[in-house]
């Protein structure tokens, strides 16, 4: 990834080049909320910010964020790298490391973002114990799949991760373990 390209990704998130993971995360969440929701800031400009235009902005923000996550992930020192569980990383054709998100990966991402489990518990109204069980993959302590799925979705969203990918990966591990 060349410098100009990275700078343009940061610009989409309205950040100065070189901003850290936490800033990237916050900018992403903030912009996504701003252009997805109704607000008094956009209400006077309904004609400018049509549904189409907002979708366009959201898509740009999403794409820039996903790419930056990969860049920042690659730059993270090995020792604390957000390694996928089971070390299942491979390099895809598009040079995106193929990660599998399990409990450990989720915890590491959360810790790198400096987000406290208590904060998530408070904001999402989920029991602390449940969140711990998710991260520690204590599958026996987790609720049945439908509930787990919705909890995982909100947790992933809070961390600014794509919920679909997280749910798929995590449930994959959950089901595999259940079979044993």
């Amino acid at each position: 990834m060349n410098k100009d390209h990275a700078a343009s990704l940061y610009a989409v998130l309205e950040l100065a080049p070189g901003a850290g993971l936490r800033d990237v995360q916050n900018a992403y969440l903030r912009l996504r909320r701003l252009y997805a929701d109704q607000s008094i800031v956009l209400e006077p400009l309904e004609e400018e910010f049509t549904a189409d235009r907002r979708r366009e902005i959201l898509a740009e923000v999403e794409a820039a964020y996903q790419k930056l996550l990969v860049v920042l992930h690659a730059e993270t020192p090995k020792a604390e790298a957000l390694l996928p569980d089971d070390g299942a990383a491979g390099t895809g054709p598009d040079e995106t490391p193929a990660m599998v998100f399990g409990g450990l990966a989720l915890r590491k991402i959360r810790e790198r973002l400096n987000i406290d489990l208590n904060e998530i518990s408070r904001e999402l109204k989920l029991r602390l114990e449940l969140l711990r069980s998710i991260e520690e993959e204590r599958f026996e302590a987790l609720p049945e799949e439908t509930y787990l799925k919705s909890h995982l979705r909100s947790y992933a969203r809070y961390l600014g991760l794509k919920p679909e990918k997280i749910v798929e990966d995590y449930l994959g591990r959950y089901r595999a373990r259940a079979k044993k």
Partner: protein, 314 residues
């Protein structure tokens, strides 16, 4: 002189506007001025709210003996009409509600006023603007080194502010191109905007830049300096504070205008108390949260900094 000419001066001019009435422009002009004066800087405040002048009352002055009226009507110089306040380093150029209306000021009077404002011998000159987007107001806004807008967290104020900044930007674009002798082009393109598929000011600017490379160079250069500082006033809760960040993003996308969110001032009962008691807020309510907010805003304006907000969901 054109409204865009910026001479190298030692002092800095800050103009405080924003479109909507009653958002706290005058209160903040008086308080930021006091903040600067208390730091030992030499400050002059100018009441440009012609027709609605009341800056003096924030300093407990009822009816100033001298005002812009004598500048306009008797040809006094600004130096002659300075009014002293309780703060040693801070003097006022007051307006007079009883004599002049904005529309009666001639073009040459306006230029003379701006010329003298640019020459005021002070480290900071703060201009208090009236509500609305009157051309005199926009021009005074555009002569400033720091263009400050005051916003309160409500939809009408936000709408008026977008309108105000858009008008200021349009006026600036026209003034810049006029200076280079391309006065007709902007209006011409704008009049035929449907033909060119231009829907808004940003697209107009993009079109001008794309069609005429010399205009692109001029505008890039001149408009990169079109930066606005935003103060959010009468903030009542944590969510309100983040509106400043949201407005910043929207203005960038809507007009391509960069703004600095320099801070917020919370809604504070001490403000109206100080107004009622006719005592300068920054002299008598130093221990309030409002005064601390104003100091933080003042520091950011001085240093070119921005407010640092905690991340998270806000």
């Amino acid at each position: 002189m054109s409204p865009t000419a910026k001479v190298q001066r030692e002092g800095e001019i800050w103009a405080v506007g924003g479109g909507k009435g009653g958002t706290g422009k005058t209160f903040l002009t008086s308080s930021l001025g006091s903040f600067l004066a208390k730091k030992g800087r030499k400050v002059v405040l100018v009441d440009m709210d012609i027709g609605g002048a009341n800056l003096h009352s924030f300093f407990g002055i009822d009816r100033p003996q001298r005002s812009l009226t004598s500048f306009f009507e008797k040809g006094s110089s600004l130096q002659d009409i300075l009014v002293r306040t309780d703060l040693d380093n801070l003097t006022l150029i007051t307006g007079d509600i009883h004599s002049i209306a904005s529309d009666t000021i001639t073009f040459s009077q306006k230029l003379k006023l701006f010329r003298q404002i640019l020459k005021i011998n002070a480290q900071n000159v703060l201009i208090d603007l009236g509500a609305g987007s009157h051309l005199n107001t926009l021009d005074a806004f555009l002569i400033a080194d720091k263009m400050v807008v005051v916003l309160v967290p409500e939809v009408i104020a936000i709408e008026n502010m977008y309108h105000f900044i858009k008008n200021a930007l349009f006026r600036k674009v026209k003034a810049v191109l006029k200076e280079y002798g391309f006065k007709e082009i902007v209006q011409h393109v704008w009049d035929r905007r449907q033909e060119f598929g231009i829907r808004n000011l940003k697209e107009l600017i993009d079109h001008l830049k794309g069609s005429f490379s010399f205009i692109g160079t001029i505008l890039d250069n001149e408009l990169s300096r079109f930066r606005v500082a935003l103060i959010l006033n009468m903030v009542r809760n944590k969510q309100d504070i983040f509106l400043g960040t949201a407005v910043k993003s929207v203005l960038l996308k809507y007009l391509g205008v960069g703004i600095e969110y320099v801070g917020y001032v919370e809604y504070n009962d001490a403000v109206w108390r100080s107004v009622r008691e006719r005592k300068p807020f920054m002299l008598n309510y130093t221990a309030t949260a409002g005064a601390a907010n104003i100091a933080a805003v003042g520091d950011n304006l001085l240093k070119g900094g921005e407010i640092v907000l905690p991340g998270g969901l806000g």
